[in-house]
């Protein structure tokens, strides 16, 4: 009797175990080429010097960084070329211990000298590096080689965003001997990295191909034989390729609109997984603070109160976005003000009757007959639609805007020079997942995207403190204070919200995770294709 009990229990256990085993991870399959597309021709391939996403798409899998976002769990930053790291007690010295036995794609051995060469280049004051360089230059004093497999970064002050910056896909490590040979990394021939894929072919305007790096330093990876990106610049063509199954995923800029997602669903139904995701991009409405009418804080306040963020997200982003928040809790966790608090603030709260009435009053106080302004917008993506809705909202409070559309480049020229009164909409994509980015880029005095030329010493002071605060809890407090201040002040840029979009993956694509920024998730290191 007992024997049969033990036997049946054992059988039960075995069945249970094997069942759970089957329900657990599928075994990754080797082989296959992943097809997708790049929305623009990258042109120049220097990962340290260029800034568009199209360049990152072309090169991501070729290189490795010291650190990167974990392909299995992109909210974490883990070591890539650096096996481990230590920080000095004053948080000003970071020591990275590098992997051994790593080879470049041309067979040369990787060592700390390559890391020093890379970061010396990026940090060189005469070298223009709008992504990696602009992040690291204010923070890093020097990079030194300790020994062949150890590198040390000396910071100017205990910089909180340092790790996020080093983990960025823009701060990848290049080979010293390649930099010496070619001088820069612009050419296809110079694309020698340590990443999971080798740069196989670049047919300008047509296609970019990667092939598997058989000597990749993580044994067993990558699973794919290669990655192929078609260069498709027209939206109808991109959509047609998706519907015909010629591309396997859409994870680039701009995201699909809901109508396109619906069409795709009709065309391919069960074969694809369509989902909504954040692109870590903030939707801003700018006012020039040194020119009438918006040099008057009352007018800025009026705009702040009148803009219906929820309507903007619902109609122009088709619901794919988070209205009002200056920091998105889903991206930066506790650093963001709780949404409950944000949604009660004037300007954001619904219904808007009180706020609109107050806004009208403020406008009438200074312009009893209303005011006419010229509203700039770049004719890109969905910007025009957004701009039209923003102007319709402002018309309710007596601000009559005429839309002035600019061709993309001309628009940036105008913004940079300050030749505008009002920018109806301009997005800013975050490069790292660090909460301080928004403030350093948009609201600080003289910041790169502070088109409205706003200057508020309190904001500068808080931003500076947040940058240098090593203690995480104290840092959170600083950013909370900053958000509260900016959301209630009459700032240069009204936050309409954080932008999301629709994307799709062919169901055969497995283990593709989106990272917190739009720049960090195209290495395809651990992605595989099912049958």
């Amino acid at each position: 009797m007992r024997k049969s009990l033990i036997l049946s229990l054992t059988v039960f256990l075995l069945v249970g175990l094997s069942a759970s085993g089957a329900a657990a991870q599928e075994k990754p399959r080797y082989g296959g080429i992943l097809n997708w597309y790049d929305y623009a021709d990258p042109g120049r391939l220097d990962i340290h010097a260029e800034s568009p996403l199209s360049v990152q798409q072309a090169l991501a899998g070729i290189y490795s960084g010291l650190l990167h976002y974990d392909p299995d769990d992109p909210t974490k930053i883990i070591g890539d070329l650096a096996e481990s790291r230590t920080v000095s007690p004053d948080s000003k010295t970071y020591t990275f211990h590098l992997r051994k036995g790593v080879k470049w794609h041309d067979g040369q051995p990787f060592s700390a000298a390559d890391v020093k060469a890379t970061f010396d280049r990026v940090l060189n004051p005469n070298f223009q590096s709008p992504r990696c360089g602009s992040m690291l230059k204010p923070m890093v004093a020097s990079v030194e080689v300790v020994d062949a497999h150890t590198v040390q970064f000396q910071l100017k002050f205990p910089a909180a965003p340092f790790i996020s910056a080093v983990a960025s896909a823009w701060c990848r490590v290049a080979a010293k001997h390649i930099l010496e040979k070619y001088g820069d990394l612009t050419k296809p021939e110079a694309q020698i990295g340590t990443g999971p894929f080798k740069f196989k072919r670049y047919e300008r305007g047509s296609v970019i191909e990667w092939e598997k790096n058989k000597d990749y330093f993580i044994p067993g990876l990558p699973y794919l034989d290669g990655v192929k990106q078609f260069i498709l610049t027209g939206v109808p063509t991109q959509l047609a390729a998706a519907k015909a199954g010629r591309i396997m995923l859409w994870d680039t800029w701009p995201p699909m609109k809901k109508t396109q997602a619906d069409e795709l669903r009709n065309a391919r139904g069960d074969e694809v997984r369509i989902y909504q995701a954040s692109i870590n991009t903030i939707f801003l409405i700018y006012m020039h603070t040194q020119k009438p009418p918006f040099n008057n804080p009352d007018m800025r306040r009026a705009v702040n109160l009148a803009i219906d963020r929820q309507e903007l997200v619902a109609k122009t982003l088709e619901g794919a976005g988070l209205p009002c928040a200056m920091l998105d809790p889903r991206l930066v966790g506790d650093f963001a003000l709780p949404l409950l608090e944000v949604n009660k603030l004037p300007g954001c709260r619904q219904p808007k009757d009180l706020d609109i009435a107050e806004a009208k009053r403020l406008v009438e106080k200074h312009y009893p007959n209303g005011v006419d302004i010229e509203a700039a917008v770049r004719s890109v993506g969905g910007y025009i639609d957004r701009a039209q809705l923003v102007l319709a909202q402002l018309r309710k409070i007596g601000i009559r805007g005429t839309l002035k559309t600019y061709e993309s480049a001309a628009g940036f020229s105008v913004y940079g020079k300050g030749d505008f009164t009002f920018i109806s909409t301009q997005d800013r994509a975050m490069v790292t997942a660090d909460p301080g980015d928004v403030f350093a880029l948009v609201y600080a005095t003289g910041a790169g995207s502070n088109w409205g030329k706003w200057s508020d010493p309190k904001v500068d002071e808080l931003t500076e403190r947040g940058l240098k605060e090593p203690n995480v809890e104290k840092r959170k407090q600083i950013y909370h204070e900053l958000q509260r201040y900016l959301l209630t002040q009459d700032t240069t840029a009204v936050v309409a919200g954080w932008v999301e979009g629709w994307f799709f993956q062919d169901k055969r694509v497995r283990n593709y995770q989106a990272s917190p920024t739009i720049y960090d998730h195209s290495t395809f290191m651990k992605v595989w294709l099912a049958q």
Partner: protein, 320 residues
Amino acid sequence: MRKYVARRLLLFVPTLLGASILIFVLMRLVPGDIAEILVYQTGTESSAVQQKQIQQIRDELGLNRPVVVQYLAWLGNALRGDFGYSYTQRRPVTDILKERFPRSMELAFLTIVVALIWAIPLGVISAVRQNTWADYLVRVVSISGLSLPIFFTGVLILYGLVRFFRYLPPLEFVAFVDSPAENLKQLIWPTLAQAYYISAPITRLTRSQMLEVIRHDYVRTARAKGLAERAVVYRHALGNSLLPVITFIGWWGGRLLGGIVIMEIIFAIPGMGTALVQAVSYRDYPTVQAIIFVMALVYLTINLFVDLMYGWLDPRIRYA
């Protein structure tokens, strides 16, 4: 004749120069330059650094020199076959031209051939059966080709292929010499879209030329001699009608090149059109300058050839 040829050749060069000056000036009038784009588009550096970087880029590229100096420098180099370096691709513009020019020319050539094959017989029918229902039908069909903007036709074709036939033309360009089949599979669709569009004026012109010629004496004589109607039409009338049609194509070539820009974008063909649009967006002056120069050169060469042909055929000029 010699004087005629000499005059035509002499006029060729200043016209080409004039076109290059015109586009040079136009591009400088367009707001924003590559320096501002590169720096402001990322918007990450502080504004003080931005100003410095813009000046630095402009110095590197020689954009701070007076415009006249820039033009003369460009001209000097261009005459030696050096079109400079592309701002967006940092490689010689001549390389870009060598890559892209044959592709666009292939598309243009195919479009013209298909358009002629389709349009000329239609024009003949329309002329021979003037004012009958056949004539009306031809005119309606060909005018409807003109009635839709080509980008629309192109997008419709792409959409229709995917929606109803689950078929998408190849997205990767393969040169004709590498694989004629793959090449044509991609190029056939923009060719059809554009050929349909430009066939209307060709049909119309063929028709009017034929109508004029048909009335002439020698045609009546041929008819009187009892030659088969078809021989009359095709051998005598058509032959003499073709010349103005060919002139017309040379003249219309300009419009064709513009339409190619749009077709290349829709059908993902990496030709001069897409290179041009990208170059204009990024204010890549050397590339724009060179591509326009080549397009103008092609257009003027065709016209020169046609002019010379006319001169040779017109006895008043040939024997002057």
